[in-house]
C-alpha cells in the first residue's frame, strides 16, 4: 500500500499529510484475516489523524464514495485505495462459501463455484452464447495480457472441469497488488463523468438468474450522470472473473457490439490476475492509462464483487481534451 500510495502521490505532486482531505479504502475483514481491517490502513497511506474510512466493498465503490465526498463539498482531494493480498488467504474456496447463507445454502457443503456453473448454464440458455464463445473470451483476454507488464496469467491453462459448463481456464486466478487513485476537484486529468452502483437480491433463491441486473442498473445510473449512451463508449474494462461474466456484463451495459479489441485490452482479471477488492480499481487503472495515451475518449470501468455477490459498480471516464 505504501508503494502504490507513494507513486500515486508523486505523480499527482501532492503531499498526503497536508493536501489530501479524505481517504477511502475498500477491504473485507475476512479476506485479510483481521477484525477490523480499517485499523491497519492510515500509516502507509499518509493518513494518520486524517479523515479516513473503509467501505466493505470493491474499490470501484470506494471511488464512487470519493466522488460523493467531493461533490458534497467536504473534500477537494480524496485518495482511494484497494488491494489484494490473496496469497495470504490459504482457503479461498472456504472463504467464498462463508459468504453464503448459513442456514439455507452452506449446509449443502458445495463450493461457491457451483453458483458460477449454474449461472453460466442459465446465461448460455437465455442468451444463445456458446461455451466456445466463452473460451474465446478467455483466449483473447490472455492474448491482450501479453502486452501488459502487470499481467501474471498470460499463459494458457488446462480446461479442467470445475462446475459444468465452467472450466478452469475460464476462471481468473488470484494475484496480489494494490491500486491507489487520487481524485481532485480542481485539477486537469481524466474526468470521472459518472458513477453508478447497485446489487440484486443477495439471496440465491430470489436473485435474477438470467441477467446481470445489478450491472444494468449501475450502468444506467452512470450513463445518466455522465450524459452519455452506450454507443459513446469506445473502451470498456469490464469484469471477467469468469469468462462468461464478461459477455453477460457487456450485454447488461449495452456494449455487446463493441469491437473485441476495445474490451478488456488489459487482459482483465483472466490475464492480469484477479485482485479481489482491488479488481474495480485495476479496471479503472487500465482505462486511465489508455485514456491518457489518447487511445480512447470515453472509457467505462465496471466491477462485480465475485461469488456469491451480485453487487456491481460502474464508472464512466473521459480523457482530458
Amino acid at each position: 500500500m505504501f508503494e502504490a500510495a507513494r507513486r500515486a502521490y508523486a505523480e499527482a505532486e501532492i503531499d498526503p499529510r497536508t493536501q489530501i482531505d479524505s481517504f477511502v479504502c475498500a477491504s473485507e475483514d475476512l479476506q485479510e484475516g483481521t477484525s477490523i481491517f480499517d485499523e491497519y490502513v492510515p500509516d502507509q497511506l499518509g493518513a494518520v489523524q486524517r479523515p479516513v474510512h473503509t467501505v466493505a466493498s470493491d474499490g470501484l465503490f470506494a471511488l464512487a464514495t470519493g466522488v460523493m465526498l467531493i461533490r458534497s463539498g467536504i473534500a477537494d482531494t480524496v485518495a482511494v485505495e484497494a488491494h489484494s493480498k490473496a496469497s495470504e488467504m490459504r482457503t479461498p474456496g472456504r472463504l467464498d462459501a462463508f459468504a453464503t447463507d448459513p442456514v439455507l445454502d452452506r449446509p449443502l457443503g458445495t463450493s461457491a463455484l457451483a453458483l458460477a456453473g449454474l449461472e453460466m448454464q442459465r446465461y448460455l440458455h437465455v442468451s444463445g452464447h456458446t461455451v466456445a464463445d466463452c473460451a474465446e473470451v478467455a483466449r483473447r483476454n490472455r492474448e491482450h495480457a501479453l502486452a501488459n507488464p502487470r499481467a501474471s496469467y498470460a499463459e494458457a491453462v488446462d480446461p479442467a472441469p470445475l462446475f459444468d459448463p465452467l472450466t478452469r481456464e475460464q476462471a481468473a486466478r488470484s494475484a496480489d497488488g494494490c491500486v491507489v487513485v487520487v481524485l481532485a476537484a480542481d485539477r486537469e486529468g481524466v474526468a470521472v463523468e459518472g458513477v453508478g452502483w447497485s446489487q440484486d437480491a443477495p439471496s440465491i433463491q430470489s436473485r435474477n438468474w438470467d441477467r446481470a441486473v445489478a450491472t444494468e442498473r449501475a450502468g444506467a445510473m452512470a450513463y445518466a450522470q455522465a450524459g452519455v449512451a452506450a454507443g459513446d463508449v469506445d473502451l470498456a474494462e469490464v469484469d471477467d472473473t469468469f469468462a462468461y461474466k464478461q459477455l453477460q456484463h457487456l450485454d447488461a451495459l449495452g456494449l455487446a457490439e463493441l469491437s473485441t479489441d476495445r474490451v478488456d485490452p488489459s487482459g482483465g482479471a483472466l490475464g492480469e490476475g484477479y485482485l479481489h477488492e482491488g479488481n474495480g480499481l485495476a479496471r479503472v487503472l487500465a482505462c486511465v492509462e489508455r485514456l491518457r495515451r489518447g487511445e480512447a475518449e470515453i472509457a467505462l470501468a465496471q466491477s462485480w464483487r465475485g461469488l456469491p455477490s451480485t453487487s456491481a459498480a460502474v464508472a464512466i471516464l473521459r480523457g482530458a481534451a
Partner: protein, 569 residues
C-alpha cells in the same frame, strides 16, 4: 460547503436483546420499516441505502453487507456498507449525509445492525484478530486489555477516582430504564453496586462494561426540499467529522483521544460551533465502558481534560443537569450491538430535539445535539452535530419512541437447543500472513536477544515497533538502531479472565512498555516476576529473555518484563 442541506426525518430501532431469534436480515428489516413509518414514507421513496455493521466475525457471514442488504431495503438500489469498527454507528449517518449532499440521492435509508450472539463461544472472540498478527496475537491479548490499559492510563494521568467514573454507569443504566428498547435499564442501581462487581481486567469491573447484544437501528435522511415537505421539524445535520489515528496504538498517549478532538473540530467548524460547551445542549458520546463517556467528553472539548469525572459525579451530565449526556441510557444501559448502538444515539438526538423522547426527554428546549462514536484499535472518532431551528415542536407527541420496538429474545437454553439452528464448531479459514520487512527484521533480532528500532531523521523519532516508513512524515525511515531491552511501564492491567471469560488464576499483567531510547515508543507485552499490587505506572522494568535455544524469532522470545533490579521498590 457546496453540497445541499440534509436532515434526519425519521428513526426506528429494534429492542436490543442478548440473543435474538431473528436473523440479521430480519433485525435490519424491523428497524428499517420502523424508520420508514416514522418518516411517513415507503421504500419506493428511498433512492439509496447506507448500511453499517461491525466485524463480520459476529454475524458469521463474510461480506455481511451483501447478506444484510435485503433486510435493509436495498433491493435494486445503490447500496454501500461503510465500516470503521466501533465508530460505525455514527459514521453511517455521515455516509447518509454525503450521499444526499452530493446529489446522488434525495432520500436515503441508513441502517445499522449487529448480531453478536452468533459468535461462539463468546462474541469477544471476534476481537481476537484486531491485534497485530505478528507481534501482539502471540501474547494472547483480549479486548478487555485495551480498555483496561486505556482506563488505567487515563485515571493515572489525571488522578481520577473510580467512584466518579462509576457514577456514569449508574446514570446511564438508570436513564435506560425509560428506554423501551433497553436490555439493561436498572432504575435502582448504585455506585456501590458497580464498585462491588467482579474485577475482570483491573481497573475494569463487570458493571463498567456494556453488554453484548443483538439489534438494529435505522434513520431516514433527506435533502432540504424533501425534508421540508415531509415534516415540520426536520433535524438538520449541521456538522460531520471523522478522524483515524495511527495503527501503532502503543506509541500513542492513551490518556487523551486526540483523534476524537480532531473529528469534533471538523464537525464544529462545519456547524459554526465555536463554544461547544454552550452551544451543544445534549450529547450522546460513545459509552461502551463508563470511563469512555468521560474520556470522550473531554476529547469533544465539552469538558477540560481530567475534569469530566468530577462533573459527572456532581450531576452536571444528568438528564436535568447543565449538559445532559446519554439521556438515552447509552450503550451501558440500552445495550451494545456495536454499530446499531452508535446509530441509536443519533436516533435519540432526533427524538430529543423534536421533544419526542417522552420519559427520557431532557428539559428546556434543546436546539443542538452531538453524537459521537469510537472504535478500531482505540483509533477512530466519528462525530455528528444535529440541530433544529427553534427547538422541539410545541405539538410534539409525548409518546416515547421507539414505539413498541421488536426483537424476540431467546433465553440461553433455547438458543443452545433450538432445532433449525446451524452450528459451526470452528471457522475453517486459514491464513499465512507475511511479516513484512520491518517486523521480519524485528523478530530476527529478538531471536538474537536484541530489540531493534528504525529512525526517522525528519521528525527525529526512534520507532518501536520498527517500520520501513515514518507514518508522521510519510517518508521511508533512514536507519536501524538497537535500543535497550529495558524501559518503563506506560500503563498496565491485571487481567483475571481469558477472552472467552474463563477465569485466569494467577491473573496476567499485560502492559505497554516504553523502552529507553525510543520516542513514544512502546510495545505490548506482559509483566512477570512481580506481584500485581506492586506494579505501578512509571515503574522501571527490564526484559527477561528465553534461553537462546528456545527462541524462535517471536515476540515471545522475551518471556516477560520484570522490575529492574535495583529499582527502589
Amino acid at each position: 460547503m457546496s453540497g445541499r442541506r440534509v436532515a434526519v426525518i425519521g428513526a426506528g430501532m429494534t429492542r436490543f436483546v442478548r440473543r435474538a431469534q431473528e436473523t440479521g436480515k430480519e433485525l435490519s428489516f424491523l428497524a428499517a420499516s420502523k424508520a420508514l413509518e416514522s418518516a411517513g414514507i415507503t421504500l419506493a421513496d428511498v433512492d439509496a441505502v447506507c448500511l453499517t455493521s461491525a466485524p463480520d466475525a459476529f454475524d458469521g457471514v463474510h461480506r455481511k453487507g451483501d447478506y444484510l442488504s435485503d433486510g435493509a431495503g436495498a433491493w435494486g438500489k445503490p447500496f454501500i456498507r461503510t465500516y470503521v469498527g466501533g465508530g460505525s454507528g455514527v459514521f453511517t449517518p455521515i455516509q447518509g449525509w454525503y450521499t444526499v449532499a452530493s446529489g446522488i440521492a434525495d432520500v436515503v435509508l441508513v441502517v445499522a445492525e449487529e448480531k453478536m450472539s452468533s459468535c461462539q463461544p463468546h462474541p469477544q472472540g471476534a476481537f481476537l484478530t484486531i491485534f497485530d498478527n505478528m507481534i501482539e496475537r502471540p501474547l494472547g491479548p483480549n479486548l478487555l486489555w485495551i480498555f483496561a490499559l486505556e482506563m488505567n492510563r487515563y485515571m493515572q494521568a489525571y488522578g481520577l477516582d473510580k467512584r466518579d467514573i462509576a457514577s456514569v454507569a449508574v446514570k446511564n443504566k438508570r436513564n435506560a430504564a425509560d428506554h423501551p428498547s433497553a436490555l439493561l435499564g436498572e432504575a435502582e442501581i448504585t455506585v456501590e453496586d458497580v464498585l462491588a462487581s467482579e474485577t475482570l481486567a483491573w481497573p475494569v469491573q463487570r458493571l463498567d462494561v456494556s453488554p453484548i447484544s443483538d439489534g438494529a437501528a435505522a434513520i431516514v435522511m433527506a435533502s432540504e426540499d424533501v425534508a421540508s415537505r415531509l415534516t415540520d421539524r426536520p433535524v438538520w445535520v449541521q456538522g460531520v467529522g471523522w478522524n483515524l489515528d495511527t495503527t501503532y496504538w502503543t506509541n500513542r498517549d492513551l490518556a487523551y483521544p486526540q483523534y476524537v478532538e480532531n473529528a469534533a473540530r471538523m464537525a464544529y467548524d462545519m456547524a459554526g460551533v465555536t463554544e461547544p460547551r454552550k452551544q451543544i445542549h445534549v450529547a450522546e458520546p460513545y459509552d461502551p465502558f463508563d470511563y469512555k463517556e468521560l474520556h470522550h467528553l473531554e476529547g469533544l472539548l465539552l469538558f477540560d481534560r481530567g475534569t469530566a469525572p468530577e462533573a459527572a459525579a456532581a450531576g452536571v451530565t444528568a438528564r436535568d443537569g447543565d449538559l445532559p449526556v446519554c439521556p438515552s441510557g447509552g450503550l451501558l444501559g440500552v445495550g451494545n450491538p456495536i454499530a446499531a448502538a452508535g446509530l441509536m444515539k443519533v436516533a435519540e438526538l432526533f427524538w430529543q430535539l423534536r421533544g419526542e423522547a417522552g420519559a427520557r426527554q431532557v428539559p428546556g428546549t434543546p436546539e443542538r445535539g452531538l453524537a459521537q462514536a469510537w472504535g478500531d484499535l482505540m483509533q477512530v472518532g466519528t462525530v455528528v452535530v444535529m440541530g433544529t431551528e427553534g427547538g422541539p415542536s410545541p405539538t410534539a407527541s409525548a409518546a416515547t419512541p421507539p414505539v413498541a420496538p421488536r426483537a424476540t429474545a431467546l433465553r440461553e437454553e433455547a438458543f443452545r437447543t433450538a432445532e433449525g439452528a446451524v452450528t459451526i464448531d470452528e471457522l475453517d479459514l486459514a491464513y499465512e500472513w507475511d511479516a513484512g520487512e520491518a517486523i521480519g527484521a524485528f523478530l530476527e533480532a529478538l531471536r538474537d536477544g536484541r530489540i531493534v528500532a528504525t529512525v526517522c531523521t525528519a521528525c527525529g523519532r526512534t520507532l518501536v515497533p520498527p517500520r520501513v516508513f515514518c507514518e508522521r512524515c510519510f517518508r521511508p525511515t533512514d536507519s536501524w538502531t538497537q535500543v535497550p531491552d529495558a524501559g518503563r511501564v506506560e500503563t498496565f492491567s491485571i487481567c483475571h479472565v481469558r477472552w472467552d471469560m474463563v477465569p485466569l488464576d494467577p491473573p496476567e499483567i499485560p502492559a505497554v512498555i516504553r523502552l529507553d531510547g525510543t520516542s513514544e515508543g512502546g510495545f505490548l507485552h506482559k509483566l512477570g516476576g512481580v506481584e500485581p499490587d506492586a506494579v505501578s505506572i512509571g515503574m522501571e522494568v527490564e526484559a527477561v529473555w528465553r534461553p537462546v535455544g528456545e527462541r524462535t524469532g517471536s515476540i515471545l522470545d522475551i518471556a516477560y518484563f520484570r522490575p529492574r533490579r535495583g529499582d527502589a521498590r
